[in-house]
């Protein structure tokens, strides 16, 4: 058990040990198990090329619909195989890579657009602020699914449309949060001094404002990873996200839908992967917020 190892026992402060832990409260759990859970999920994702026992598209028609290992199958396919004899474990591992890389890229685009607009709105105020905040309100008033449906109808399923949908969902949250912080920061003494010292707006934003909002941005971004993974999986499940034959978790669950009566494992394992990944990222996000940004703690 990770908690009882000497290293982790030492790292827990005596005060913290005395307080009764509520493991289900946000941030109320020790970091080590979360870290271990995340690492066991991230390593297969990053190295699926080498670690996965089979290629994601490697079919084996003689081993079609093999059950998982303790349900009548054997260790050659621990999670079983699908209709074409493809190894579910390997496909789930490759799926992890797509889920993580798409969320990272999508969140990055959303963060860059949203934070820049938030910086501009909060720092320059006036018309910029009014226009950008109106756009934020409108954007928050539109469910992401509408844009996803519209884009899918327009261009068909593609990486780009998923990234656009993700960025569209996220930018407004970042713009709003960053603006709120910048409004306070720009009134601080160090900004006034930088103005007196003759710094340009760009220099002030980059050297004095941005470093002070980075923490907030990082925490907010971490908390969005779970939402984005679920969104991407839902879109792929509906066939309006990442196109076939890329082994995304959403597509794999969709593939198993028709096989529920005979081969439950085809849908089960990719879905379980989504659940565990989102759960561990959410726990990690809560923990990170507690560490870096105790102000924004939820009750």
């Amino acid at each position: 058990m990770p908690i009882s190892t000497p290293a982790s026992a030492e790292s827990v402060a005596p005060v913290a040990r005395k307080r009764r832990r509520n493991f289900l409260r946000p941030g109320g759990y020790p970091a080590l198990p979360i870290a271990i859970l995340m690492i066991t999920l991230i390593i297969p994702a990053l190295f699926s090329q080498w670690l996965a026992p089979y290629g994601p598209e490697a079919t084996n028609l003689r081993a079609r619909l093999q059950p998982p290992v303790f349900f009548g199958g054997d260790w050659s396919h621990p999670f079983g195989t699908d209709r074409l004899g493809r190894d579910i474990l390997s496909r789930t591992m490759h799926g992890a890579w797509y889920a993580l890389s798409i969320s990272v890229v999508g969140i990055f685009v959303g963060v860059v657009i949203g934070s820049s607009l938030g910086l501009i709105a909060g720092y320059f105020r006036g018309w910029w602020d009014t226009i950008i905040m109106r756009l934020v309100d409108i954007s928050l008033a539109l469910p992401a699914m509408l844009l996803a449906l519209a884009l899918a109808a327009l261009s068909g399923p593609s990486f780009q449309s998923v990234i656009i949908v993700v960025a569209f969902v996220l930018w407004a949250y970042f713009a709003r949060q960053v603006r709120a912080e910048v409004l306070g920061l720009r009134e601080r003494d160090f900004v006034a001094r930088a103005v007196v010292a003759g710094s340009s707006h760009l220099a002030i934003l980059r050297r004095h404002i941005l470093p002070n909002v980075v923490n907030t941005i990082v925490v907010l971004a971490t908390l969005q990873v779970g939402i984005v993974i679920t969104l991407e999986a839902s879109l792929s499940f509906l066939g309006i996200g990442i196109p076939r034959p890329i082994p995304t978790w959403g597509l794999m669950v969709a593939d198993g839908r028709q096989l529920l009566t005979s081969a439950w494992w085809v849908s089960f394992f990719p879905g379980l992967a989504i659940l565990l990944t989102v759960l561990s990222v959410n726990l990690f996000g809560d923990w990170l917020r507690e560490k870096i940004d105790p102000k924004s703690r939820r009750v």
Binding site: R25, L149, A233, V253, S267, L283
Partner: protein, 304 residues
């Protein structure tokens, strides 16, 4: 109050207008519809006639105004996948199914989440609290389509208690409604819990206790009434996420509502129907938010 009402109304109108821009952009950049509407051997005169009839030879702002004029009347053209029906008729005929499912999902989430949140707040730190928070934690991490499939596997395929898909009876409604409600339950439970914790600390609750008012009356009458404002504001978001959930869950359960129609229309590249669904969704969503804003202002006068 009137001024507040006007501001909200204008904001909603702008949001709707942005949607029409997106939907118009969709038609405009989705390529030339003439090719799809006419057979391959159409003569140049026929092509020119259709282009003229559809107004495709007009400048783009005129085209947009024409589109807007038609959109206001709910006219998005004829459906391609369901021939002989206008796109809006197809969509409106599916609306009741979605509203039933969404309403049921909302009902389930309120009936479960509010008591759970209250219980979790009044018994903070006990096993009840941990259970409620565990539900909330898992609910936020579980993809709804997968939950739907697991429910089908266990309760329809395995136990045979409910039909696997389709619609018609109340039994058909149970599994899809639970699948949509699950995520809302976790969010609402968390919100209710934190709102209740705040209110239970307030002076008037302490006063009521000092006066000797019984605990259930304090919790359910004094505290919950005040705490309910927070989950109520969330209702707008809830409506949006129920709509989103319905697209996914209707597809899982082949429930013949708007979401299922949208996905079928996209597969068939039936643009008029997709446009109509997007507009109808947007109108429902914006109306729900407007209603919540007004209700909120009515309940809590400080907002105005």
């Amino acid at each position: 109050m009137q001024r507040f009402f006007l501001v909200k109304l204008v904001e909603s109108a702008i949001a709707l207008w942005v949607i029409t821009l997106i939907v118009f952009g969709l038609t405009h950049f989705s390529g030339n519809p003439v090719g799809a509407l006419l057979p391959d051997d159409a003569s140049p005169e026929q092509v020119a006639f259709l282009i003229n009839k559809l107004g495709l030879d007009q400048p783009i702002h005129i085209q947009y105004l024409r589109f807007l004029g038609n959109a206001v009347q709910g006219d998005f053209g004829l459906s391609m996948k369901w021939p002989g029906q206008s796109a809006m008729d197809v969509v409106l005929s599916r609306l009741p199914a979605t509203l039933t499912l969404g309403g049921m999902a909302m009902l389930i989430s309120v009936v479960i989440a509010i008591p759970l949140g209250v219980a979790s707040a009044t018994r903070k730190g006990t096993i009840v609290d941990s259970f409620a928070q565990g539900i909330a934690l898992i609910g936020q991490s579980m993809p709804s389509f997968w939950l739907g499939i697991i429910l089908i596997w266990v309760f329809a395929v395995g136990l045979g208690m409910f039909p696997t898909s389709g619609s018609g009876t109340w039994a058909h409604l149970v599994l899809p409604a639970i699948s949509i409600a699950w995520f809302q339950i976790s969010a609402l439970t968390r919100l209710t819990r934190s709102a209740m914790l705040e209110v239970l600390d307030a002076e008037y609750v302490k006063l009521a206790r000092a006066k000797g008012v019984s605990e259930p009356i304090i919790v359910w009458k004094h505290a919950l009434r005040n705490a309910a404002v927070v989950p109520l504001t969330y209702f707008g978001v809830l409506a949006g996420s129920v709509l989103t959930g319905s697209v996914v869950i209707e597809t899982v359960f082949s429930w013949p509502g708007l979401g299922w129609t949208a996905i079928e229309a996209i597969k068939a590249r039936d643009f008029p129907v997709v446009q109509s669904v997007v507009i109808v969704f947007a109108v429902i969503f914006i109306l729900a938010n407007l209603l919540v804003d007004l209700l909120y202002a009515y309940i809590d006068p400080r907002i105005r």
